[in-house]
Each structure stands twice: as C-alpha cells, then as structure tokens.
C-alpha cells in the first residue's frame, strides 16, 4: 500500500511537468497582449515594447518557459502584471478560503446526499422515495446563481440571519456552501439510491436479515458499505472541481476564492497568476484522485493495491 502511494506520488512529477508545458503554451495562444493590457490605452508603443522586453515576452517560447520554470522551482512564481503582488501571495492568500468552502460544501453534499439517497432506497417506491428524488432532480437542475440569490434574499434580506457577502466565521460560510453543496447533494442522492437498490436484493443481505440483524444495521453496515464505491468516486470528482474554485458562487457571495481570481487573471492575460493557479488545480485534482483510490481500499477491503 505504502509503495503504491509512493509510486503514484513519484509519477506526479512528470505529469505536472507535462501539464505546465500545456498551460504555458495554451494561454499564449489566446489573443491579447498582457503588456498593452497592463499599461492601458494611454501608453505609447515604445513603453509597451519596453514592458514586453522587461517581461521577456519578446523571447522565444522555450526560453520563456525555461526562465519561468527555473524561477518557479526556486519558489519565485513572478508578480501579477496587474497588481504587482507576488503570484504566490495572490493564490496563497485565497487558498484557505477556497479550501474551507470546498470542504464545507462537500460535507453538506455528503450528509444531505447520502441521507436522502438511503431514505429513498429504503422506502423504495413510496411517496418518500418519490419526494426525495423530485427534490434531487430540482437540486441538479437549479442554477447556482439563482439558488444563491434566493438564499440571500430569504436569509439575509428577509430574515437578516446571515451575512450576504464576504468571509469570516461559519455564518459567512453557510449560504455559499449550501449553494454549492445542493447540486452535488442531489447528484449523490440519486447515485446512492440506485447503487443501494442494486445491492438491496443481494443474498448476503437476506442472510443478514435471516440471522436477525436489526434493519438499520443491515442497511448501514452491509448494504451501504457495498454501495459506497460510486458515491466516493463522485465525491472525489466534486471536491476536485470545487478546489478549482466556484466562479459563479464566489461572484454572487463576493467570496474571496481562487475561481474569481483565475477568471479575472485570464481577462487581464495575467500569465504570472494564471500559470501557477492552473498548475495548482491540476495538482489538487491528481491528489484528490489518489485519495479516492486509497478510500476504495478502506471502504471495500476486497480492494488491495500492490
């Protein structure tokens, strides 16, 4: 197991190098000149040329890449061309907020999703099942900007219980993570239900019931555990996606996450920020996938890695 994990981590290195080259080339293929964007319409052409030279944008791409990756390996990711703040700060200072939001949303998605899913499966073909699935369907279909604004209107404007924007304590986190978690919860509820239904009629469950096990133990210990694999996969994907920021939700709640930073940086062709941000997302995604693979073994002891 340890050897497997180590091997996966070592494999990360060539993967990230490949990704860094892809990122580097792709963002330079989209039209727009970072120097002109940074200096504005008032700048003379001479000034723009000077800035291109200062930033090395006049060099061939391989030279630019070597310079960038060389400095990055020493911890220098360059400075934002817009704010002049070091790119590592722009991203690093927003990362905790994004992690908090992603973790909180996944927690909500997990609790609500698995809860509704189990309920629906256990009460299969009753009104509870149908109600749960209609709610889940609505959850999948509701656009997050609409849900976010509705939550704000009810809880911030009408009731005045929760703040409508910014970050801070748990109260600031509740509405945005509910907005984000709702969609994921709906998806998880549906997957949990269908995968539970598949195992519900299995022989080992009949055996468990026959030996007189209480129903909640039958479902909780025997059925759910066998049904969890697709749910864990889905949770991993959702979490990986949330770590790359949730642009719409961040915008609606004016939440200082990475998603909004990335969108604004792309709009300004702020290469210094775009590059490490995308690289970080790739890294996080690979890492989450690794954790998901390990969780498979935890959830289902029949799975082993050598």
């Amino acid at each position: 197991m340890i050897r497997y994990i180590l091997r996966r981590i070592v494999l990360l290195i060539p993967l990230l190098f490949g990704v860094s080259i892809l990122i580097f080339v792709i963002i330079r293929l989209i039209p727009g000149d970072p120097a002109r964007l940074a200096l504005g319409a008032e700048a003379t052409e001479d000034q723009v040329q000077l800035m291109r030279r200062q930033w090395g944008l006049d060099q061939p791409l391989p030279v630019q890449y070597a310079y960038w990756i060389g400095h990055a390996l020493q911890g220098d990711w360059g400075r934002s061309t817009v704010s002049r703040v070091p790119a590592s700060d722009e991203i690093g200072l927003r990362l905790p907020a994004t992690l908090r939001l992603a973790a909180c949303s996944v927690l909500i998605a997990c609790v609500l999703g698995v809860g509704f899913g189990v309920l629906a499966a256990v009460r299969h073909n009753t009104w509870l099942d149908r109600l749960s699935m209609v709610i889940a369907l609505l959850g999948v279909c509701t656009p997050s900007f609409w849900l976010g604004l509705m939550l704000i209107l009810v809880f911030s404007v009408q009731l005045g219980w929760l703040p409508s924007f910014g970050q801070g304590g748990l109260d600031h986190l509740l509405l945005p993570s509910l907005t984000l978690g709702a969609g994921a919860a709906a998806l998880i509820a549906r997957v949990t239900r269908s995968s539970l239904l598949e195992v519900m009629s299995a022989d080992y469950l009949r055996t468990a019931r026959a030996k007189g096990l209480a129903e909640h133990l039958v479902v909780g210990r025997h059925a759910l555990r066998n049904a969890l694999i697709p749910v864990v996969t889905l949770l991993g994907l959702e979490f990986g996606g949330l770590l790359a920021g949730a642009i719409v939700t961040e915008t609606v709640f004016a939440y200082p996450g990475i998603g909004l930073l990335l969108v604004n940086s792309i709009g300004n062709r702020d290469f210094a920020v775009i590059q490490p941000a995308l690289l970080l997302f790739a890294f996080q995604f690979v890492l989450v996938n690794l954790v998901v693979d390990i969780l498979y073994a935890v959830v289902d002891p029949r799975i082993t890695y050598a």
């Binding site: 000149d33 319409a41 008032e42 703040v85």
Partner: protein
C-alpha cells in the same frame, strides 16, 4: 469596468454649480433643486454660457443664493451621536485650468465617531499605488489615502490640496506651485518640494513602468524643487491643461520614504497625506482604512474611525449588500438595480450626472466610412433615445457635442435627429442606395447597445454583423495600426481623464492618438481640428482656450466621425443613516467625507 479599457478617469470641471455648492448630505435634495433650476428658467447650459461670458462674481453669488433657497440651512438634524457638517462656503465656480489659483473652501466634515463605514464597490481595487492603476475603484480609495497639489472635489471642481497657490508662465510651459507647510505623510515623512519632485520623478521614469507613466510623461518634462515650499513643473511643450491633469487622483502624492522602502510592494503598503491611512488588505475580500489622527486639516478630517472597502462584482449582490444593511454605501449601480432599490426600505438611491460618453466608432479611413455622407447617414439612422432606453432604461442625455456637458470647454453644437428617410437619401447620394454590409465589434457590457444599433441600421439597408469579443481580444484588434486594422464599427466610450476639453478631444480626435499610440480608434483626422486642439494647449487665456475648443467641437460634429449617442447617468445607494459618499461624474467614488447621520 467600462466597456473600453482604462476608462480614463477624469477630472471634471464645471458641473452644475448649484450641486457643487451642496454638502454631500443633501444629495436627496438634488431632485428638488433641479426642479427649482428649471422653474427659474435658468438651465445649466445657459448658466455655463453666462460663466463663459464672464459673469461677475456678485452675479454668480446671487445666483447661487437663489438656487440655494430651496435647501435647508443645515442638513437634517442628527439624532444624537453625530452633528451634521457645516454647510460649504461659496464654492469656486469654474475650475481654473490656467491662471489664478483657486481658493477652495470645502465643507467641514462631521465630527468623528468610533464606527466603521462599509463601502461596497463593483470591483475590488487592483493596487493602491496611486501612480499604478486605471481602476476607478482603486482611485476612489486613493482619494481617501492621498492628496495631490490640487485635487477634485465631489463635484469635480479643482480645489487646492497640498498647494496653496500656483502660477503658470506666459508660454504655459512652467507652472510654479507654492506648497502648504508643516504637512506630514502617514509615516511621518515631511511633505515638501523634494517629496513632490521625488513623487513625479518616480512616475516619469520609464523603467518603473507605472501605469500612469504615459499619462504624466506626455505632458510633463521634469519637476524641480526650488525649495521646501516651492516646486516647478516644466512641460514638454505648452500645456495649458496641466493643472487639470495633475488634479486627477493619479496626481496624489505618495510618501518617498515608503515607496523607496516597499518598492514593488508599495501597492499593498500605500502611504499618503490623506484623511485616512492604510490599515490592512485581505486580498480578495476587503481593505480597511483607519482615520489618520494627525491629518493636517483638522476641520476636514475623517468622520468615521474606520472605513472598509469591499468589491462585489455581481450587480444583484451589490444591490443586496446595501438592502440587507451589510454596507452603508454601494456604487456604481446599474440602472436596473437602482430602480429596484428605489422601493427598498432604509435605502436612498442617488442619481448623478456623468461625463462619460458613448458612441459608435467608424473607421474613417476605410470604405465606405471615408465618405462624410455615409457617416452622416448613419448618424441620422439611429434613434438615440431608443438606444438609451434599451441600454440604460432611458437614464442619460443624448449628446450634442463630442464631449459631455460636464467637461470644461463644452459647447452645445447639435444633435443629428432621428430621420431614417434622410439617412437613406444620404446613402443614395453617396452611391449606396441599397446600403452595405459591415461588422460591429463590442464587448459584453455593450451588448444591449450593439443590438439596438444593429437593428436600427438594418432599417436603412445597412446589414450589420454584430460580433461580441472578450476585452483583451477586442483591444488587440482595435489597437492595430491603420495598415493592419480590420476595424469597421465599434461601440466605444470615453470619460476624459482630466475633465478638460484637451483630454476629451485630443485622445479621440487627434492624429497623434491613432493606434497603436492612442485611442483614436476611428483614425479620424482633420488638420483644422488638429491645429485647434494644439492651440488650446498654448493659450493661458481661458476665453481663448474655450474659443479654440468650441470651434473644434463644431468641426467634429460636422465631420461626423462617429455615431454620437449619449452620456449615461451614475447611480449609487446609501443607507438612511449614512451620507457623504457619492459617485463623481467621472465614475470614481468619492468617499473621504463619508459619515453617519445617526
């Protein structure tokens, strides 16, 4: 952000004098006062004309008095904690771009209370280095932190800040400023002639690549400190608009000790002389400023102990921030949100003039737009009121000059009325009876404008392909030199960054500003206009300057290089217990006088 990039900020000048004289808390009186203006049969334009003709000061005072009669003698009495600030003394009427100094008597500020004032803007500032930003949001915060030798008050009039007086040389090339004495920056560094010289040298150095380098270096050759109390700004060529140019917030004075110490990090460690000093910046979330207790002008210091600034880029969320009481001031709001907030409890919506102008750029060097008849036809073909209604819910003013009425030097020339038949006739005269095909480029915020223009041009047989582009790609295209340019039609906007006719006209209509050098994206050129714009920079006599610009405006309107549209209105909102913050006519939020009424 504006559709066009660095929505150049400006310093405006003559705004309605009646409004200019009001203290901020009376913004709610605006509507009523406006009515009063009308009843007295003296509209703003007539008033400006009077000023231009040299109405004497007593006459003006009488008019001010008249216009004030409707307003209460003092702001609504505060319930407890806060006293309302004293009313302004007679304001300066016309921004002096040259000549005698303005003696500004700004209203005194409300007594300070130990509370925090939360300002919600439509975008987070990018940098608080006053010489390194184009963002209106950043400049709004900068106006709390920094002051220039001269500055612009909330009604965009030039006021003395760190300078006591100034004197231009007869050839409009050397401007000598007398500085106030005994002022210190937030970090204790003394403010003096050397500090001014160091600040300008910082932005004038090409290697530093500060965003405002181009703005200042186009005008200023060098700056020399004569002694502690005197400084000389020397321009490259006669530059009569210099004072307006440095009154822009980018002319704020940064502490030389601080910018040397922090270098590239000065943008997150700003130090100036203003009524607020920088406390912290949680990036992506908020900026906090503290009242500066040693501010030099005791009567006009900060009225709240802390001010927080938060960027909320979703328009609905911005409106909700003020509606839910999370913020005390929110702006700029778009017309739809402002309308929606009108009915909200505990919120007052403020509507104000802008000096921003929208138009459709035509590539004047390209067929068929190189023909004056075609350009005029397009001007007649568009129902500007309809565009205004679609894009701004009808809130704005159809322009009758290449620049907005709030800009110094403005003259009402004419409007091309909506007349599709005449447009068709003109096209036929130009040899295009069946119209033609063309492409209109625009960025997302101008979508409504573009669609309205497209459908109206269709009526006269001009088939427009409307192409929405992302800002950087759009800018890359429009900035190409003439030989590579593919520009046909563009939705454009300009807000002249000095509030002076020079920057309103030169940047858009002078050949020196043809891309890639500047923003004359339509490649307009008329030698007479070129000469008049240059003349305007040489006179130190205001009347002569005005004449030159008036003639230039006439010529431009006749040439019809663009399809002239409108100047929109600006909206912001305050909680019922808050006052003293507003959107300036140039789109920069004015925040330093913010206070609580209860």
């Amino acid at each position: 952000m504006a559709a066009l990039l660095p929505n150049a900020q400006h310093t405006g000048v003559v705004l309605a004098v009646c409004r200019g004289g009001l203290t901020m808390d009376r913004v709610s009186e605006y509507g009523r006062l406006d009515e009063e203006w009308q009843r007295r049969g003296l509209d703003r334009r007539k008033f400006l004309r009077l000023v231009a003709m040299g109405a004497s000061v007593p006459t003006l005072s009488a008019m001010i008095a008249a216009c004030r009669q409707g307003a209460p003698a003092s702001p609504p009495a505060a319930a407890g904690a806060t006293q309302a600030p004293a009313a302004a003394a007679a304001p300066t009427f016309v921004a002096k771009t040259v000549g005698t100094p303005v003696v500004a008597v700004a209203p005194t500020s409300a007594p300070r209370v130990d509370r925090s004032f939360l300002v919600a803007l439509n975008v987070e500032p990018d940098s608080l280095d006053v010489q390194d930003t184009f963002f209106n949001a950043s400049l709004g915060v900068d106006k709390c932190l920094y002051e220039g030798l001269v500055g612009l008050d909330q009604s965009m009039q030039i006021v003395n800040q760190l300078a006591d007086s100034w004197e231009p040389s007869a050839d409009a090339k050397i401007f000598t400023f007398k500085l106030k004495q005994g002022i210190k920056f937030h970090d204790g560094t003394p403010f003096n002639g050397q500090a001014v010289q160091a600040a300008f040298e910082r932005v004038l150095a090409p290697d530093a690549q500060l965003k405002r380098h181009g703005y200042f270096s186009a005008a200023i050759d060098h700056v020399e400190a004569v002694d502690d109390a005197t400084v000389r700004l020397v321009t490259r060529q006669p530059f009569a608009a210099l004072v307006a140019t440095i009154a822009h917030p980018a002319g704020g004075m940064p502490s030389p000790t601080a910018f040397k110490q922090y270098g590239q990090d000065f943008g997150t460690h700003p130090v100036g002389t203003g009524p607020f000093k920088f406390a912290e910046w949680v990036r992506g979330d908020h900026i906090t400023l503290d009242a500066f207790s040693d501010y030099w002008d005791k009567a006009r210091g900060a009225s709240v102990a802390h001010m927080s600034i938060k960027g909320i880029s979703d328009p609905s969320s911005l409106a909700i921030a003020i509606q839910s009481g999370g913020a005390q001031f929110a702006g700029p709001l778009n017309a739809a949100q402002a309308q929606q907030l009108q009915s909200a409890v505990g919120v007052k919506v403020v509507e104000s003039d802008s000096i921003s102008v929208y138009w459709v750029t035509m590539n004047d060097q390209r067929k068929p737009f190189d023909n004056n008849l075609v350009r005029q036809a397009l001007n007649y073909a568009i129902n500007k009121d309809a565009v205004l209604k679609v894009a701004e819910l009808g809130k704005g003013k159809i322009v009758d000059s290449p620049m907005a009425a709030g800009v110094w030097g403005y003259k009402s020339i004419k409007t091309y009325e909506y007349n599709p038949q005449k447009a068709k006739d003109l096209l036929a005269q130009a040899g295009l009876p069946d119209g033609f095909k063309t492409t209109l480029r625009f960025t997302a915020p101008s979508k409504d404008r573009a669609v309205a223009v497209q459908s109206q041009l269709q009526q006269i047989g001009v088939q427009v392909e409307a192409v929405q582009m992302e800002v950087p790609a759009y800018q890359a295209e429009e900035s190409k030199p003439l030989e590579d340019s593919t520009t046909e039609l563009l939705i454009s906007n300009w807000s002249p960054s000095t509030g002076d006719a020079d920057w309103a006209l030169r940047s858009i209509y002078s050949k020196t500003q043809w891309p890639p050098a500047g923003a004359n994206y339509g490649f307009y050129f008329n030698q007479q206009v070129e000469d008049l714009i240059m003349q305007g920079l040489q006179f130190t006599d205001e009347a002569k300057r005005r004449d030159a610009y008036a003639r230039a405006q006439e010529l431009i309107m006749d040439d019809a290089p663009n399809v002239f549209l409108y100047a929109p209105r600006y909206f912001s909102a305050l909680r019922d217990n808050a006052a003293g913050a507003i959107m300036q006519a140039d789109g920069i939020p004015y925040l330093r006088t913010a206070y609580y009424t209860s």
